[in-house]
């Protein structure tokens, strides 16, 4: 219950930064916070009460005492792809700063054709 409310609050805070802020680096920080909130929501849905980690370490563990392993596999992939998107976005920001000398999105409005 607490996990659902925390993850929705994280997604909302991140989306506020994407919608309202005017600095480009602040927008990318907001995107990274939205990613973290979504990962927390996915893992909190797959939790089983009084469960344990899905690894058969001792020979006597039953499969009914373990948490769901499918959301963990999905979130593993999603974290790496979030890093890739952030890296490419930041390299584009470096190139934009070299050309326009500012990072304010109200001033980078003219595209040259």
């Amino acid at each position: 219950m607490i996990y659902y409310a925390t993850s929705i609050l994280l997604i909302l805070i991140g989306m506020y930064a994407v919608l309202v802020k005017k600095n480009l680096i602040k927008i990318v920080i907001g995107l990274s916070i939205v990613d973290n909130g979504i990962h927390l929501l996915l893992i909190a849905i797959g939790y089983v009460k009084d469960g344990t980690a899905p690894i058969f370490s001792k020979p006597g563990l039953q499969a009914s005492q373990m948490v769901d392993p499918v959301p963990q596999a999905l979130v593993l992939t999603a974290i790496v792809i979030g890093l890739a998107v952030t890296a490419v976005a930041l390299s584009l920001i470096i190139r934009l700063y070299d050309h326009h000398k500012t990072l304010n999105i109200n001033k980078i409005r003219k595209l040259k054709w």
Binding site: L12, V20, K49, F56, V80, A84, A87, V88, I94
Partner: protein, 226 residues
Amino acid sequence: MRKVIAILLLFIIGYYSLDVLLKIPFGESAGGVGKHYLESTIKETGAVNSVTAIVVSYRGFDTLGEVTVLFLAATGLGAILYDKKAKKRALQNASVIVKTSSKIIYPLIALLGAYVFVHGHLTPGGGFQGGAIIATGVLLMFISYRSFETNHKALSIIESLAGMTFVTIGFAGLIYGTSFLQNILPFGIPGELFSAGIIPLIYIAVGFKVGAELTALLDNLLKTIK
């Protein structure tokens, strides 16, 4: 004005999302696909770690897609930040304490990263975690010493060979078995190091590839500082 509309929109989205999410029961037992994967992971793959078996064996094609996305991101970053004149890195060396201790810690970090991706099917870990740990160790050496260079040609040869190994193992499953990425080697005793068929081989290839890629990405970013 823009702030007020944004806050109102987010409030509506948050209220209705929370209203739906609080009806999902928290902590129920896994049903459907999760239960089937948990019950048949030792019989069908031989790996003890269930998350590794899903990522490499049951959903191995998605892992191939993810490795491709990471490769595209590193190549795209190298292409956007390309400059013909090679620049130097930081302006000064770090202090004596950092220089001495980073020489001692760097082989230990590389050993930890290699341990994590070799034992991916027995303990929590795997290829992506091990590659990230190795890249962090190389970053420590980049920050401490001004003249620490890595060989770009060697890094790109390692990365290409590791990627081709992954696809070759998949094609070997197609030739000797029935489908792409089928488990064709014998399973062994679950819990030993040499078990679970092709899962350790694929994770070793992924660990090398991710480590080399992230090192090349950091080197490209660090070299452009004037």
